[in-house]
């Protein structure tokens, strides 16, 4: 499809002017129709052995069943794609991640993903100044991008990751309309505070003497009240509004 390079620049232009994560979500969904991927996942890499998918994902288009399986099996800790992000500044196909040392250990993750329609994938890593990494993975039944398509997805990935990061870290400007009060309950705020310092739902359940399921419910309802599409975003939004500090 020879006209796709211009599409890539159009998508990047939209990402550069994105004001909220939903804008990015929309552009990445539209871009899938051009580049042939079915879904995508954007997130930060786990910074501790206790972190799980929901602590890391910024934007997820993954099938819900795969998310549940991935979370339950703590695949985020052994996924070869995640391991490869740490070693690479250049984008790569998921199967290329199996070639790195230790990559074979996490092969089960890629094998299980196939059952959920994620047969092939392409990942754009981003290493941040000051430390930490993020990644944006595109996946689908078939994804065999040409060199030009890889370059286009690289550019789209970088701009999507960069835009998301800017949105999440933006401070409240004096001109902003104060948002409608979120009316979070005391428990919801407590759970967000612990999440903000890197605690997982399980750890929070221990700290607060609640079941993990209850903690997850509090985090889900807090996210809904804050208009956030992910746990990562709900923490950022709560910080932004001064609900937690």
């Amino acid at each position: 499809m020879k006209c796709f390079p211009q599409s890539a620049f159009d998508i990047v232009a939209k990402l550069r002017s994105a004001n909220c994560l939903e804008d990015i979500l929309l552009e990445l969904k539209l871009s899938g129709r051009i580049f042939g991927y079915d879904t995508f996942l954007m997130g930060r890499l786990p910074r501790s052995p206790t972190q799980n998918l929901l602590d890391c994902a910024t934007l997820s288009g993954w099938p819900a069943e795969w998310e549940r399986r991935y979370q339950a099996e703590r695949f985020v800790q052994v996924d070869p794609v995640i391991r490869h992000i740490r070693r690479s500044v250049d984008p790569f196909l998921w199967r290329e991640a199996l070639v790195t040392p230790g990559g074979r250990d996490g092969q089960i993750v890629l094998e299980e993903a196939r059952a959920f329609g994620l047969v092939e994938g392409f990942c754009v890593p981003l290493h941040h100044a000051g430390g930490g990494e993020s990644g944006l993975s595109f996946g689908g039944q078939r994804l065999a991008p040409s060199n030009d398509e890889r370059a286009a997805l690289h550019l789209i990935g970088i701009y999507a990751l960069s835009a998301a990061r800017a949105i999440l870290s933006r401070a409240v400007s004096a001109d902003d309309e104060p948002p409608a009060a979120a009316h979070l309950t005391g428990r919801e705020v407590e759970c967000l505070k612990w999440s903000a310092v890197g605690k997982t739902a399980w750890e929070i359940s221990v700290i607060l003497s609640l079941s993990r399921r209850t903690v997850e419910q509090y985090l889900i309802s807090a996210a809904r009240k804050l208009g956030a599409v992910s746990r990562v975003q709900s923490v950022a939004e709560a910080l932004r509004r001064g609900i937690i500090d």
Binding site: V89, H127, A129, A151, S162
Partner: protein, 219 residues
């Protein structure tokens, strides 16, 4: 700590010019292994250096901690004459108020320090202030796609000019980085956070942006 020097430093202050080209050789040839730039006299100066270019120099005493070279786009520059193929046929903006940001260097000990990000922001700020002093609209930059985030984080409005390509083994993408109010605000904040940060602009540099001349074909 930062100075904007005109390219005619080669004639007005040969000792300073010598220090600059020696620093560039140590950094780009010895450290980054750009063998194509190696010179017998260990001074890295190429065909694009000249009286119309500018140096942004960051020093602490006699030590050069940071450097960038700005080339006018109304004369031969890297994107027009070294590797125009990376544009893949797409256009790139040129003009009196657009320069090319090249030879960006930060001394190793600053890049490895705990303050590496803060200093990197200061260097970007110095380039932003230099661009403002020269009354520029923006800068052409060619860089690894992963560094686009550094540009956007420091407030530049970075527009890609072509898809990334492999150039000498590395991924390279040409970008047009517009200078915005945000770039200058972030520059101000970075300078405020770094004691002693200041850009010295010698009188006469402010009007020194290149005039409109046709770009000659190099032999």
């Amino acid at each position: 700590m930062f100075t904007l020097l005109s390219g005619d430093v080669d004639t007005t202050d040969p000792q300073m010019a010598n220090r600059i080209y020696a620093f560039r050789h140590a950094y780009f040839v010895e450290h980054l292994r750009w063998e194509g730039c190696r010179q017998a006299d260990c001074r890295e100066r190429d065909r694009f250096d000249g009286p119309d270019s500018f140096h942004v120099l960051g020093e602490k005493g006699a030590e050069i901690l940071a450097y960038a070279r700005l080339l006018p786009t109304t004369r031969p520059h890297l994107l027009s004459h070294l590797y125009p193929e990376i544009l893949q046929g797409r256009p790139a903006p040129t003009g009196r108020r657009i320069y090319e940001w090249t030879r960006h260097a930060v001394a190793l000990r600053m890049r490895e320090s705990a303050m590496a990000t803060a200093f990197s922001n200061v260097v970007s700020g110095a380039v932003a202030y230099a661009a403002e002093a020269l009354d520029l609209e923006g800068l052409l930059v060619q860089l690894h796609p992963a560094l686009i985030e550094r540009l956007t984080e420091t407030g530049w409005d970075a527009e890609p000019l072509a898809l990334p390509v492999k150039y000498e083994g590395s991924s390279l993408v040409p970008v047009y980085a517009r200078l915005t109010d945000q770039t200058l605000q972030i520059a101000q904040a970075a300078f405020a956070a770094w004691p002693g940060a200041h850009l010295h602009v010698p009188r006469g540099s402010m009007c020194a942006a290149a005039t409109d001349v046709p770009v000659p074909v190099l032999q």
